[in-house]
């Protein structure tokens, strides 16, 4: 749960110009999974999309 709390907190603080989907593509390139792309593109708000991106499989695995 700490990861989720920290991810919500980080998404709230973030000042980025990219959309969450563009960020995901830029950071994971060819390894971006459909699940992560869906999470980053399908949320209600950009902040929510960013939070979902930060707890996505791509961010949880290295």
């Amino acid at each position: 749960m700490r990861r989720l709390e920290w991810s919500i907190f980080a998404a709230k603080r973030a000042r980025i110009s990219l959309t969450p989907e563009a960020l995901a593509e830029s950071v994971f390139g060819q390894d971006l999974t459909p699940e992560t792309r869906f999470a980053a593109a399908g949320a209600e708000s950009p902040k929510q999309a960013l939070t979902l991106l930060l707890v996505s499989p791509n961010f949880m695995w290295r």
Binding site: R2, W6, A10, V27, F28, G29, D31, M60, R62
Partner: protein
Amino acid sequence: MTINPSMAAHRFGLGAYPGELAVLARDPAGALWRQTELRMPAANPEPLRRALIEMRAAATIAEKPARQAALRALFKRIRQSDRTQFDAAFAAAAQSTAPFVERLTWFWANHFTVSVKGKPRVLPFAGTFVADAIRPHVLGRFADMLVAVEQHPAMLIYLDNAVSIGPASKAARRSKRGLNENLAREILELHTLGVGSGYSQQDVIELARLITGWTVPIGRRLPNDMEPFFFAENWHEPGQKRVLGVRYGEGLAEGERALRDLAARPRTAQFLATKLARHFIADDPPAAAVDHIAGRYRESGGSLARMSQALIEIAVDRPQWLQPKYRQPMDHMAAIVRALGPEVLKARRTLPDLTKFAQAPLLRARLPGTQTKRAIGPARTL
């Protein structure tokens, strides 16, 4: 052949900032390889000397209540300053321009964990542990790192060698303290050969005897201007010792020789290679991967740069060996900071929780490669 830029950034580094993969794409393996050829800066002895002076100022007060109050105040001040420096040091590390070296530093800091839990006297020395003993050697020789670590005040206090007295030493006649085996046991079990690798309880005792007198000069009767590592000859166990069948005599150099011999053992190569393979290749790495890494270590006389290059070689030549690795909490934090920028760490009220959360290797000693004045480092817990 080369490796996928995302693998280079996420598996070997600390994540990617937007656009980093495009930069890496030209030559991902080369970008990693060049990091292993960097020259690491030597340790700066001054912060550790200052820590000893501060510690002595409190610990040598004659009256017990005043001494205890001074120590409590010192520990409290260090805890607070570590906390306030955490985000700056962590952000600098997460944004490193040599993230593979940074990950390796975290790896070795974790291998040689020190903790302040239940041992507040470690606190003044833990802050520079990584910068003093780990980082200078992370691309150097394992034997040099091993000696630096086992002679560091944070390690000597954490594992009680600082109070270990040879039973036949001069000091033993007027002290109720005796031999303490904790550090010697951890050297064999965690730092070099690995648990269950064929050493005996007698080897532990003999190694403990060899490193008696390795301590920190905090005692009241000692002069104020001593170096933070002190070989107390009158605490040292005289006579012959025998570790894993090798004979040693007495004195500081013999203890160091024993550590260097341990570093050179094939079992140590195998143990270190297994840990590296688990971290970088797969949770359950193929034996051939471990053998390749251990082989590079043996043929290079224990070079950690060669060992690190072996990991790149595997990623290039045997990409099918690399299996998904779950990020530790601190890794996850680092990847977020690298992707989103250090602003995400700003909010003082959350820092105590963050520092507890980022439990992994680097909490109680300075993060390496940072420009901050004071910082964080290895610990099981804060």
